[in-house]
Amino acid sequence: MIIVALLLPMVLGALLPAINFKNRRSHGFYIEGAVLICAALGAWALLKAPAPATLSLLGGQSLALLSDGAARILGLTFCVLWPLATLFALEYMVHDLRQDVFFARYIALLGPALALCVSANLLTLLIMYHLIHFGSLPLSSHSSGERAQIAARRQLYYQLVSLVLTVAGYVLLLSAGARGRFVYGGGLDTAVNERLRIAFVLLALGFGIGAAQFPFHSWLPQVTTGPTATTALIHDVLLVSSGAYGLARLVYWCFGTGGLTGTWAQWGPLALACLTIVYGSIMAFRVDELKPRLAYSTASNMGYVFFGLLLMTPQGLTGGLLHLIFHALAKMTLFLAAGTFILRTGVHTVQDMRGTASRLPVTTTAFTVSSFSMIGLPPLLGFLSKWTLAQAAGAQNSVLAWVGMGALLISAVLTCMYLLIPAVEAIWISRSADALPSRAVGGPIDISLMLLTLMILGLAFVNSPLFDAVSRVALGQG
């Protein structure tokens, strides 16, 4: 069953260019319907926790799938976000000539995305991780402009480095006698030696590239030149989350925290995460173009996740996972809102956003609400994840943990600056009416933005159960 759920998106995606639709309407219904079916089936397969599926390969290696708590957390997030982003893309991509190809790839990526979540060993995870990243390249280069091509090429180079690092790490891991099977707690605690630590750092760096961690972050702001629908769902949610999720599996399910805590293998990546948090926020504040600004913000927020994961405590894992899913939701909303601004007003920079709010009430509301969530205004979800991360850092009580807490707080102020100032200026600066687009409400874009906004607000009321569920997963009980 789980295999069907993973393959269906690719099949339905591949069929799309082959079908000849009578009109735009049925075309749209097919795409949205296909995504909804895939997402529903995926969610069902995740929740039903089917028996593990294993495929043996040469040399004792195998591909294995298993749905556990952590898989459900990220997988269900994807299953919710995919249909919403597709809904947005339906209106956003309307005038694109190659939209069939676009949607085919868009839908198909849900397959490896879910497979990544349910990977039961490191090899499967790595394959899915690279499949996702390389599979996203055609989407990155979808627009024919020169900037998009350069950006996609840069993404490719970074991804090749990531491939080299992860393969080297994996080979080292095998040569040290470890198997890479995912069991909560890892079980390598006492066996961890310097060679395994090197393997860990290589793998962590490889995942760090995927999550745009400093100093390997620069591909992410560059690829924002593509269509916003891609940036919002694929680049800034799927790709970076896959990196962070990989690290989570690596630390807590493959290595275990015992052999790494307190060694350079922890401090090194942790320091980079702290740097990313602050650096990303500062760059987001300095960049004037809207989409790269949000992309830098993504890098910074993935820094939060990495920071939490690398604290190597269950509490840190809870905070990291919470921030991972919350960020996916809020950042996608922000990007979709930014994309709407760009689509409807033709502005690309924060400066030009001034005074446009009166014509785009839904978009501005979505932007503002998700900004508040990013800043961490309780009881919105952003507060819970930052709170958990800070508590985990405080409990760690080491120098870098305190530095990280400081970075978290500084970044919170910067977040307010780079997100709320545009919102304030968009809403409160008056602008002559003729320079603005006409009001247009009610299309798929507005529906998806409204749904996302409502979801952010609604999740504020389920803080407690969500926290309990993620905590259970982080303690290996879920």
Binding site: Q391, G406, V424, F467
Partner: protein, 494 residues
Amino acid sequence: MEGLLLIIAIVLPIVGGILVFLVPWLNENRKDRSAFVFAVMMLECIVVSLITLDSPRRLVLFEITSHLPIALLSDSTSSVFSLIVALMWTVSGFFSFRYMQHEQNERSYYGFYLLTLGSLMALTLSGTMVTMYLFFEMMTFISVPLVLHTRTKEAVAAGIKYLIYSVAGATMGLLGIFVLTPNLTTPYFVMGGSLNLQALTISQEALLVVIFITLLGFATKAGMFPMHGWLPTAHPVAPAPASAVLSGVITKAGVFCIFQMIFYVIGPDFIRGTWVQTALLICATITVFMGSMLAIDEKMLKKRLAYSSISQVSYVLCGLFMLDKTTFGGALLQLVFHALAKNALFLCAGAIIYKTGLQRVDEMQGLGRRMPVTMGLFILCALSLVGIPPLGGFISKWYIAEGALGSSMPVFSWLVPVVLLISALLTAGYLLPPSIMAFFGGMVDGEAVSTLSRAESSTVMLVPIALLALALLVLGSMPAALIDAFSGMANLLF
């Protein structure tokens, strides 16, 4: 339900504000809207009075996680603050009904005015640190539109400055909340604090550093040096009645947070005698002096009043940071009397702008002849701010000075009274000359002052100012009830 009143006190103005935004017929007629806003504020005053008369209550609203409750608390402290908030809001709101007629976007003004009241009320009734943080941030976000009101470039820049300073301050406060939470025996506010001294997760020195940053962060809203930069920019650009509450009331929100942190979370004994107390006192005394010095040099009336707020609110902080029963009483008295006087002064400035358009102190010559009642009330409130008996301001400063002199703190036992005295002279220096010029100036634009015609403010504008001045006079000459109440609180908290 037991705590229903607390919820009503918060929800009532918020619903009122939302209705102003959403219901079209409320905005068709200015009179209808004014009546509605006034009714909401009066009801709010009644609800808050009922809460004050009621016994202390605690109410858990919901839980973020099982260790992070969002809860409300009403006791004597919250009553003091929420009463000030509700009353000052009503008075300034009443003044707005006429004043705002010459501004645009009245609807959004009243909407945000009521929403800010709701969030401020929630802040004064908050019962845990996270609740306080939540409503502190909310109050910032909701009050920014009041600063932005005129939508000019200057206003937007001021609003953004206000936003950034406030969020930075709140974030510094959040650091304290992060670090203190695992070190407390209970997440709820408890009189005398709930620091778990036996099982601190970090060293006492580190905790003191964190506490210092926290208190400094919350002091941003109170305009304390070195976090005061936003205040003189943001307060004057708002419409006058909004400046009045920003300066007279919202600065007290910062004081409230500091108050809760010291007396309900950390406990005064943990800070007493440490470098944190010294450092905070240094900041506060510097602010008292600096605010007055800056005010003297400022020519715009509203901006001068804003600088004055920086100085006067730090009197309150001085009194609190001494951690002494007498100065504590003085601080709370100063809180009340400054709110009254500063509200009234900003409303006077608003009345002057409304009638004559004059904004600079050097243009005020002859104003006393044109608007005798307004200027008379202006002088009365200015005298209270300086600290002339029998007005309110005298008593508060007396208690702060007396408490300081009687305390055992080295240096500050004499430094605080000296700075207070100098600042009082400076206050006289920046408020009285323009008022006197208003009555005795010789020539305006080549015309003798005596020939100017009268252009007194309307009654709707004078009544709120007169009420505030009257309160200063009455409470100043018969302060026994207030002093009793505040020394009662002091006995509970120390």
